[in-house]
């Protein structure tokens, strides 16, 4: 019914065209399935929820060079000034800005050093009791810092006694899920976990543990310091514009830099992923278009070579639909071969990428999805030339013999 045998015989006689088509389909399948998988992987990464209302938050850095004022006091005044600005919800001085790609991390011990024991690494933020509100995150368990928990000091021997941690961190340290109220250690200094936040990303989204974050109620005023500010929705741009002047008006022997919105900061940190994403998308689109064009061209070529054969068949009583079906089946056969080769290549390529680069293992549904898409594309690319072939008049066969 489907005339598979004669089709295969015909293909055998003109191998080159078929082989070319097969190769194109195979490579396309291999590239597209891997690229689509990488794209999906990066998309999930880029669109993850960070736990912050990114569109309302911005940060800035302060580098103070004047020595004529007490830094701690200056920053205290700055915080008050900032919190009272119109449009500002809250502001906090901090050592590091979440999502910015720069910050500090350390292992928090379950036992005081030098006693041997497990330690859990976390990115840490040092700020006062306004930090949670500034970042727009809420506690799911425990309490916020009281103002007298906050240590403002220049003495490196004074360390905080309490901390707020993310659920992920607390659960890694205490797998029973009862981290609240437990003691942990920075070196030999103890601190107690008094509050737990469900979702809050650290400074590095690409860290292998981006969710391990801890906040200490601690302000050691440094000459280089960051400030995070959350504004009322829609007010951010206006506040950002005047912030440098406001800060310099309060004290001018310092430089205000890096005034940057949180989402923009994140975008810059992730720019290389966005780049990869875009390049791969362009590659896939162009590749699919080129392959479709190739199939289209090759079918046209096959038909022009077989004009007389088609005319003869038509003259011998084949209907137009038979001719169309002939080409459709022929292409499906080639496509099936190409897909078989392509899927194998895709899987091998996925393994290579997994081995050589830090990419996750290719998921099979991407290969299957791509194969289906390529098949549909192949059939679509064939329909038009096949219909044209069906228009060949039987009289062609009788001419010029």
């Amino acid at each position: 019914m489907l005339e598979i045998k004669p089709i295969i015989n015909a293909l055998r006689r003109s191998k080159v065209g078929a082989v070319l088509l097969l190769i194109q389909i195979a490579i396309t399948t291999a590239i597209v399935s891997n690229a689509a998988f990488i794209i999906q992987d990066r998309m999930t990464y880029l669109q993850q929820d960070t736990g912050y209302p990114e569109q309302d938050i911005f940060s800035l850095s302060v580098m103070t060079y004047g020595k004529d004022r007490d830094l701690s006091q200056q920053f205290e005044e700055d915080e008050n000034m900032l919190r009272n600005l119109p449009g500002v919800v809250d502001a906090a001085i901090t050592n590091a800005v979440p999502l910015s790609g720069s910050g500090s991390a350390s292992g928090m011990g379950l036992k005081p050093a030098p006693e041997p024991g497990r330690s859990v690494r976390a990115g840490y933020l040092m700020a006062d009791d306004h930090m949670l509100n500034t970042l727009g995150v809420t506690l799911s368990e425990g309490r916020n810092f009281y103002p007298d928990d906050v240590i403002v000091t220049q003495d490196p021997n004074k360390l905080p006694k309490v901390a707020i941690a993310t659920r992920t961190f607390a659960d890694e340290a205490f797998p029973e899920g009862d981290g609240l109220g437990k003691m942990m250690y920075i070196g030999d200094r103890p601190f107690k976990i008094i509050g737990i936040v469900d979702k809050m990303k650290g400074p590095w989204l690409k860290d292998d543990r981006p969710d391990n974050v801890i906040i200490f109620p601690y302000i050691k005023a440094e000459t280089y310091q960051h400030i995070i500010i959350r504004t009322e929705p829609g007010q951010r741009a206006a506040v950002m514009q005047t912030i440098e002047d406001k800060m310099l008006a309060a004290y001018d022997k310092r430089v205000i830099t890096n005034v940057i919105a949180m989402d923009e900061d994140k975008r810059q940190y992730n720019a290389s992923d966005t780049l990869m994403l875009r390049m791969l998308m362009v590659l896939i689109v162009v590749l699919v278009a080129i392959t479709a064009l190739g199939i289209f061209g090759l079918t046209l070529f096959n038909i022009s070579k077989r004009t007389r054969q088609i005319g003869t068949r038509r003259a011998l009583g084949a209907r137009k639909s038979d001719i169309i079906r002939y080409f459709m089946v022929e292409n499906t056969l080639i496509c099936a071969g190409g897909l078989l080769l392509g899927c194998t290549a895709a899987i091998l390529m996925g393994q290579q990428l997994l081995q050589r680069f830090s990419l996750p293992a290719l998921e099979m549904q991407y290969v299957a999805g791509t194969a289906l898409m390529v098949l549909v594309m192949t059939l679509l690319a064939v329909i038009f030339p096949a219909r044209r072939a069906a228009q060949i008049s039987p009289s062609v066969a009788t001419r010029s013999i």
């Binding site: 080159v16 050093a113 070196g187 290389s272 875009r278 162009v286 080129i290 070529f301």
Partner: protein, 437 residues
């Protein structure tokens, strides 16, 4: 004859405009995409200091006690401790040597309308400029005496000299770094490479520093690094003095060794140094180990070329292969249709070789046009790269090598694709076609 073939090729291309257009488009897209990723890759993997990259070495010391891990593939720490760097800088071996770290200051001037601004700085030894062949435009590096006295002197880059002093000879001028007055002793020419190969810790393609200050100031001014510090054991660090005496890794170090003998001697020196330190209680490990990599090995070791980029280059060459398969198909169709004409030519005395060459010339022309169009597409692609990733801006350009290789790759690709169709068509037996005409 060649000109005649070009003429024939041109006529042939014009006779089938759609097919020619499709072929040119396919090769242009293939080249465009390949050159976009290849250009970035090329700029990333370029030798940053060709004239002496095999003579500059970054030593590494395995200072960690047994049982401790760092993140490198061979478990050697990437950077050095202050005490080791300090010691190696004083060592009698090695032609030029410099320890270094990245730091920064607020730069401000008295009576100037330049608003105070933050400026990155590199604290290093005076040999830095000899190591990396940086010529001075004005003045010179600081003297040994100034280094010994920890004088507040500074070498500035040409760019900073332009900004602060309008490009004039600023030797002897003063400005403040934080609250210390520094005197300019030299203005140095810029690096010719975008790659900060001597310190890849915070991104190998960040800008070079514009200020260079004597290494001895680190101890005197309690300067901390603005780069990475990595520790491997708990140490009670309460001050910069503690940090300088600690086992934390936070300095880079480069040494110039002119021949294999010097490299060997330096290795022996490092082993001797470690053995000596072991006696004083450091390096609690069985096997003493050091690393000594030259510039290119170092960049390879530190994975300066991003993985994403390597994946993209591989994918885009596969894409080029698909484009080639396409062109091959189209050429087959085109050339076979011309078989009767070729039959006549063969009958009139053209040799197989001539027919073959004629068709190869034709596909080369396709390649040339496609390659040129591909360069234009690649420029578009690179523009997109610069737009998405600012950090890549200095990298996302095509240099002369890339501009020249684009048409070469395009023509080579087209010739490869055209080989089979041209061979098929040159085998045409004249008789078959003469009969039917």
């Amino acid at each position: 004859m060649f000109l005649h073939y070009i003429d024939l090729g041109w006529r042939s291309l014009r006779r089938t405009p759609t097919v020619s257009f499709l072929m040119v488009l396919a090769i242009a897209l293939g080249i465009g995409i390949t050159m976009t990723s290849l250009s970035v890759y090329h700029m990333m993997s370029m030798d940053p200091i060709e004239q002496k990259s095999d003579r500059l070495f970054h030593p590494q010391l395995q200072t960690m006690d047994d049982g401790n891990d760092t993140w490198s593939e061979d478990n050697l720490p990437f950077q050095l401790t202050y005490q080791d760097a300090q010691h190696l800088a004083q060592a009698p071996v090695g032609r030029y040597k410099a320890a270094m770290l990245r730091t920064g200051f607020t730069l401000h001037m008295e009576n100037s309308d330049v608003r105070p601004f933050i400026q990155n700085a590199r604290a290093t030894h005076a040999d830095f400029f000899n190591l990396f062949d940086l010529p001075f435009i004005y003045g010179s590096a600081w003297t040994q005496e100034q280094a010994d006295d920890a004088s507040p002197v500074v070498v500035i880059s040409e760019a900073l000299n332009d900004k602060l002093f309008g490009g004039r000879n600023s030797v002897g001028e003063q400005f403040f770094l934080d609250d210390t007055a520094f005197r300019v002793v030299g203005v140095v020419a810029p690096f010719t490479t975008h790659m900060k190969f001597y310190d890849v810790n915070n991104g190998a393609f960040r800008d070079h520093e514009n200020l260079y200050i004597p290494f001895s100031l680190i101890a005197v001014m309690d300067i901390d690094t603005w780069g990475n510090s990595n520790g491997w054991k708990f140490e009670n660090i309460r001050s910069m003095k503690d940090k300088r005496q600690s086992e934390i890794f936070w300095l880079q170090f480069w040494v110039q060794l002119d021949d294999d003998a010097a490299v060997k001697q330096y290795g022996e020196y490092l082993m001797g140094y470690m053995a000596e330190q072991q006696k004083s209680g450091r390096f609690n490990r069985e096997n003493l180990q050091f690393g000594l990599r030259n510039v290119n090995d170092w960049l390879d070791y530190r994975n300066v070329v991003s993985e994403d980029n390597e994946v993209l280059v591989a994918l885009s060459f596969m894409f080029l292969a698909v484009c080639l398969a396409n062109i091959l198909g189209l050429l087959l169709a085109k050339f076979m249709r011309r078989a009767p004409e070729v039959g006549v030519r063969r009958a009139l005395g053209a040799s197989k070789r001539q027919v073959f060459l004629q068709h190869i010339v034709e596909v080369s022309m396709l390649g040339l046009i496609g390659g040129l169009l591909g360069i234009a597409l690649a420029q578009l692609g690179l523009w997109g790269v610069r737009l998405t990733q600012e950090y890549y801006s200095p990298l996302a350009t095509m240099d002369m090598t890339m501009l020249l290789s684009a048409p070469v790759i395009a023509i080579a690709a087209c010739v490869i694709a055209g080989m089979y169709p041209a061979w098929l068509v040159c085998r045409t037996t004249p008789a078959t076609y003469l009969k039917t005409q």
